[in-house]
Symmetry: C2
Subunit: 96 residues, 2 copies
């Protein structure tokens, strides 16, 4: 499925992590496992989601705004999670 | 738990994603949901894990090597997943 074919495509990486202060049992479990394997110098393990996608938008500002909406509506729970959007810039312009 | 207290601490972000070609049902489901919400211009959604941690090591090379081992032994399944390690450099040196 595609939007307006004359829009450029941006490559985006969205990182969704739990807010600091929110309990992260998955991170705590991995930290214990890492220590059990003998790696003592590892601490503060936090586990989140990384989402890669491509998005068609007129410009980077629009792409970022749309991704912010998608994060708040679907990908992250803003009450307990933060989302960080990184755009790798205009990838290709699918000229009609 | 800590290692050698004279070692610097590095801030690391590890991204574990499915290899291209490996079926990603979670990504496909999110993509369908994004389209159902009316965002037609989103494609190639892939979902992976993002792991943040702190690691004490004598230097960056050593930190990276240890994290590579931890990825292969615990965090990722190298058969179907790739892991990408980003170190944000020496954070602090806990001098004894």
């Amino acid at each position: 499925m595609s939007g307006n074919p004359s829009n450029p495509t941006f490559d985006a990486t969205i990182e969704v992590m739990l807010r600091s202060g929110v309990s992260d049992p998955q991170g705590a479990t991995v930290e214990k496992a890492v220590h059990a394997l003998g790696y003592a110098g590892v601490s503060e393990v936090k586990i989140g989601k990384s989402i890669h996608l491509k998005i068609e938008a007129p410009d980077e500002t629009q792409a970022r705004a749309t991704l912010g909406e998608i994060c708040d509506r679907l990908l992250a729970n803003p009450v307990i999670e933060t989302s960080d959007i990184a755009l790798s810039g205009e990838l290709s312009r699918n000229q009609a």
